[in-house]
Amino acid sequence: MNGLIYFNSSKYSDLKIRCEGQEFNAHKIVLCGQSKYFSAMCDGDWKEGVDGVIELKEDDASVVKAMLHFLYRFDYDGSGNDQGRVSPMFFNSRVYSIADKYDVPALRLLAKEKFEEAVGTCWNMDDFVHVIPEVYDSTPPTDRGLRDIVVKVTHEHIKTLLEKKEFQYAIEETVGFAADIIRLMAGGGNLVRRKYECPNCNNF
């Protein structure tokens, strides 16, 4: 009846997910219904399907756990508290990235919300400047989700931020970030989308 209690439960578990030495009990019916990644993997004759074990390399175990938590309970703890003292900005940005990678659209929306909230309160903290390259590197350039939030907050507090040395580095090192800021400033605070207009027919 209550599917929520099966999070990480071995009961009826038909799939194990390993990540960074941790192992989670999972259920195909839960995962495959919400992520095309898992359904394609389980439907084909792949090694994972045969072994019943999915090894997620190159992912953070805490982030994977948050994703699984969401898949079972439709929410996760975005505060970063149970991750030691990881900044919620970082954590939610990672969750956003994993939701994009494994195609869980609902989680992506939730992560974005949580990220926006975190950035709104924590922009003046030291690690904000480290969040900028994180955001720009973890999603494809066309994904505006977190980028717009970062750019907007930066624009609002540009003077304060410019006083930080670390921020200067971020501007210089993060590809695309400076360009986004300029576009925003040129648009008078409104984000100007990169659009291509065909001079002949006005189609994009």
Partner: protein
């Protein structure tokens, strides 16, 4: 484990794909991916990690190398198709038979070889297609992130779609190396192989439907362009047009050979079977997309093109089916023509033609009988013997004609039954065909001049009392049907005239089965023909009913006056309203008159007084030719003869009024005296024809010989002498002296002419009345419009000349005048 743990500041983790520090080498990753893709294509999957493949592709896309990945995968697939898959298929073509079959035509290959080679080829392609689908399915799964992010962002077709396009271009549409033939592609060969198989199946062979269906799936799954427009399926652009072409020529030639070699029924059944087959084929072997198109082809080639010839086929076409009541074939013909022509033109034409033919034959048969009967009729008229017994044994001419009349109606009804049945059961009560049926009956019934008379006579026959061979219900059913024939009759007034005549005889001679049945008939006619039609008929019934009351009233009246001095003579009479009854048909030859004996004259006068005292202003005319009388006769003892005559004999004899008048004359005659024919005529003034007929009944007919004629012969001559027959004897107390030509029968040609003449006269009156009515209202009317309005008011089809004459006559009598100044002729009403 996170980098920031334990320190005062939280540092972002510097590991994993998010790290910009990690350099990604496209070639390394692609190398790994390509190996795995190859393993997918060689079906060596089980050790491949989905996670790894996906992660690699994800990384490339995330690091903006999606386009390189996309292009490399395409190149990989293209190479695979060209080098691996096509080679395999090319090998299937070794020997070149199929290529020739596709491009040149099938020569020198047995059916079996052809089929085997074809199946091998199809199997090869089917396998290649299914492999390709399977591999691309897996590849697509692995490259899901690329499809979702890179393809969407850059408006590229998904890798699956792209790979399908590659299959189309590098397999199907690729040229096959051949000697001699130029443009054979794998696709063109496949199409010709499939078409060939379908041809085999049409010829009755068994083929591998599932295999063909798989190949069709391929055509259905591929598109001309990457947009995957549903109308641009290769199935629709390449395969289907060829299929339809081939099918068209197949069915065209099949239609031609069927026309030459089969009868109509076979043709239709074959066509129906073909239609079913093609539908099944679309479902099981080809594609439902083609169902309606192939149906059209078959319908056009087998039906539209040939239906007329099939229906008109000599000895087996519709003509034959109708005559032979081939319900199944008729139904089939109907269903099949309905497919191509909602009006069923050909069927309708042939149907109508045959019904009219059959009707005309019935007409002809009736006419032949009439002609055979007619001469005898003329010769024997006037010397018939009123002996019902002999009538039945050897039908005389009149009876023969009446039988012919009844037979005509029965035949027509039978014909109607037959075609109604066909219409209901084979033609699904089709509206158009019903119209055709009605039109046909209308046509031949009205072509037959005596239809009105015959139908009325038929009804008369069935309403006559004492018919034993049918139950009441049967009679009822027959009459119901007879009434429907009235619908077809154009000159309803003529029918009314005959019906009145026949009805009057039934009523006056007491021959009708009874008021209820008659009235039921009237109400049926009322339904069928309208109120005005039956008004006069109802008047006739009213007269009869009133007359009954009058007779009783008169009898009571006389009883009061009775002084007992004389033996009373009972009188019963029918007082008929002149306009309701066909009076004119009763005294056609001469005015019905006679001098009544004084006793009778007194009663007559008595009744006239009685009647006129009740209804002043009326005029009574007596119709002695219509009445009968019961007389009591006493025959004296005749000595010396046989015992039967030795005593006085009393008989009650029913005779016609005329015969009574004649017989009463003999009361005043001394024994042994006689009257000559001339004496009788001067004394009675009975019209000669009636007198002759009555004398024949009294003096010639053996069983009712109340008078003796000298010399004894059948003919009556003016000089013949008549004696009272003292020697008359009969074992019956009651006798009836038959009246010649008493019942209803067919009119002779002369009578009919007269009837028509009278009818025309009446029509003249009706037309004139209509003209006056219209003109009075409209005052002035163009010629043409007046005609149209007149015709619309009439319930018969008038002769245009008759209208013209009537208008002229009205102008002459100054009811109308011509309007001179109008460009078009017109008339004006003169008040």
């Amino acid at each position: 484990m996170l980098a920031g743990r334990g320190k005062g500041r939280i540092r972002p983790p510097r590991r994993g794909l998010a790290s910009p520090a990690e350099n990604i080498d496209f070639n390394t990753i692609w190398g790994e991916l390509a190996t795995s893709l190859h393993e997918i294509h060689t079906k060596d999957v089980s050790r491949l990690s989905f996670e790894e493949l996906y992660r690699n592709a994800y990384k490339l896309v995330l690091k903006k190398m999606g386009d390189r990945l996309y292009e490399n995968v395409k190149k990989f697939e293209e190479k695979w198709l060209r080098e691996e898959v096509k080679t395999k298929i090319q090998n299937l073509l070794s020997g070149g038979n199929l290529i020739n079959a596709a491009t040149v035509g099938i020569i020198g290959m047995s059916t079996n070889e052809k089929r085997v080679a074809g199946e091998k080829y199809m199997k090869g392609l089917k396998a290649a297609w299914e492999d390709h689908n399977l591999c691309m399915g897996m590849t697509t799964d692995v490259l899901m992130y690329m499809d979702r992010v890179f393809c969407t962002d850059n408006n590229k077709p998904s890798i699956f779609t792209a790979a399908m396009g590659l299959f189309r271009d590098h397999i199907l549409r690729s040229q096959v190396a051949t000697e001699g033939s130029d443009s054979a592609t794998i696709e063109s060969i496949l199409i010709s192989v499939i078409l060939d198989q379908i041809h085999l199946e049409r010829e009755g062979d068994i083929i591998d439907k599932t295999l063909i269906r798989s190949c069709i799936y391929m055509f259905e799954g591929l598109y001309e362009a990457e947009g995957e427009d549903e109308n641009e399926k290769i199935y629709l652009t390449s395969f289907e047009p060829e299929l339809l072409n081939v099918s068209r020529s197949f069915y065209r030639s099949e239609g031609e050979s069927l026309l030459r070699n089969s009868d109509a029924g076979t043709y239709l059944r074959h066509t129906a079977a073909r239609l079913r087959e093609e539908q099944d084929r679309c479902r099981s072997t080809i594609s439902p997309l083609t169902t309606s198109k192939i149906r059209e082809v078959v319908e056009e080639e087998l039906l539209t093109r040939n239906i007329r010839e099939v229906i008109e086929m000599e000895g087996s076409g519709l003509h034959f089916m109708l005559d032979d009541d081939r319900m199944d074939d008729l139904r089939l013909a109907y269903n099949l023509e309905s497919r191509i022509d909602p009006k069923k033109t050909e069927l309708q034409k042939a149907f109508q033609k045959r019904v009219v033919q059959m009707g005309t034959e019935i007409n002809k048969a009736a006419k032949t009988t009439s002609i055979v009967a007619a001469p005898t009729n003329e010769r024997e008229s006037g010397k018939e013997i009123a002996a019902p017994a002999t009538k039945v044994a050897a039908p005389n001419a009149t009876a023969l004609q009446s039988i012919a009349a009844i037979k005509w109606v029965e035949d027509v009804l039978q014909l109607k039954d037959k075609y109604d049945n066909i219409w209901t059961h084979a033609f699904q009560e089709d509206q158009g065909l019903q119209t055709a049926l009605t039109r046909s009956f209308h046509e031949f019934i009205n072509e037959f001049q005596r239809s009105s008379e015959y139908i009325s006579l038929f009804i008369d026959e069935n309403l006559k009392r004492g018919l034993k061979d049918k139950t009441e219900n049967e009679v009822d059913a027959v009459l119901e049907k007879a009434i429907t024939l009235l619908r077809y009759i154009q000159d309803k007034d003529l029918f009314e005239r005959y019906y009145k005549k026949h009805l009057s005889r039934r009523l006056l001679m007491g021959k009708s089965v009874g008021g209820d049945v008659e009235k039921q008939m009237i109400s049926r006619m009322k339904l069928e023909l309208g109120n005005h039609f039956t008004q006069k008929l109802e008047g006739m019934f009213k007269d009869i009913a009133l007359s009954g009351e009058l007779t009783t009233a008169y009898r009571d009246h006389v009883r009061l006056l009775d002084d007992g001095s004389r033996e009373r003579i009972e009188l019963s009479m029918n007082v008929l309203t002149n306009t309701f009854w066909p009076v004119e048909s009763w005294d056609s030859a001469a005015k019905a008159t006679c001098i009544f004996p004084p006793d009778i004259e007194r009663i007559k006068a008595g009744f006239e007084n009685f009647y006129l005292s009740k209804h002043t202003g009326r005029r009574l005319t007596w119709q002695p030719n219509m009445g009968t009388a019961d007389i009591r006769a006493i025959f004296p003892k005749v000595q010396g003869k046989d015992a039967a005559l030795a005593k006085e004999r009393r008989h009650e004899i029913n005779v016609s009024t005329y015969a009574m008048v004649v017989l009463l004359l003999f009361n005043d005659l001394p024994a042994g005296a006689y009257y000559t024919f001339e004496d009788l005529q001067t004394k009675t003034m009975i019209p000669p024809n009636d007198l002759i007929r009555n004398l024949q009944s009294l003096a010639v007919a053996p069983k009712t010989r109340l008078l003796i004629k000298e010399p004894m012969s059948k003919d009556i001559k003016p000089t013949d002498r008549f004696y009272f027959n003292d020697n008359f004897s009969s074992k019956f107390l009651k006798l009836k002296v038959g009246v010649v030509a008493g019942g209803n029968r067919v009119e002779s040609e002369k009578e009919r002419k007269e009837t028509e003449k009278r009818n025309d006269e009446m029509r003249g009156g009706i037309i004139e009345a209509a003209v006056v009515r219209i003109m009075k209202e409209r005052k002035e009317l163009p010629h043409q419009q007046l005609y149209t309005e007149v015709i619309s008011q009439l319930r018969f089809t008038p002769d245009i000349n008759m209208i013209k004459k009537r208008i002229e006559s009205l102008i002459e009598r100054e009811y109308l005048e011509r309007v001179e100044d109008k460009a078009r002729p017109a008339y004006r009403y003169l008040a």
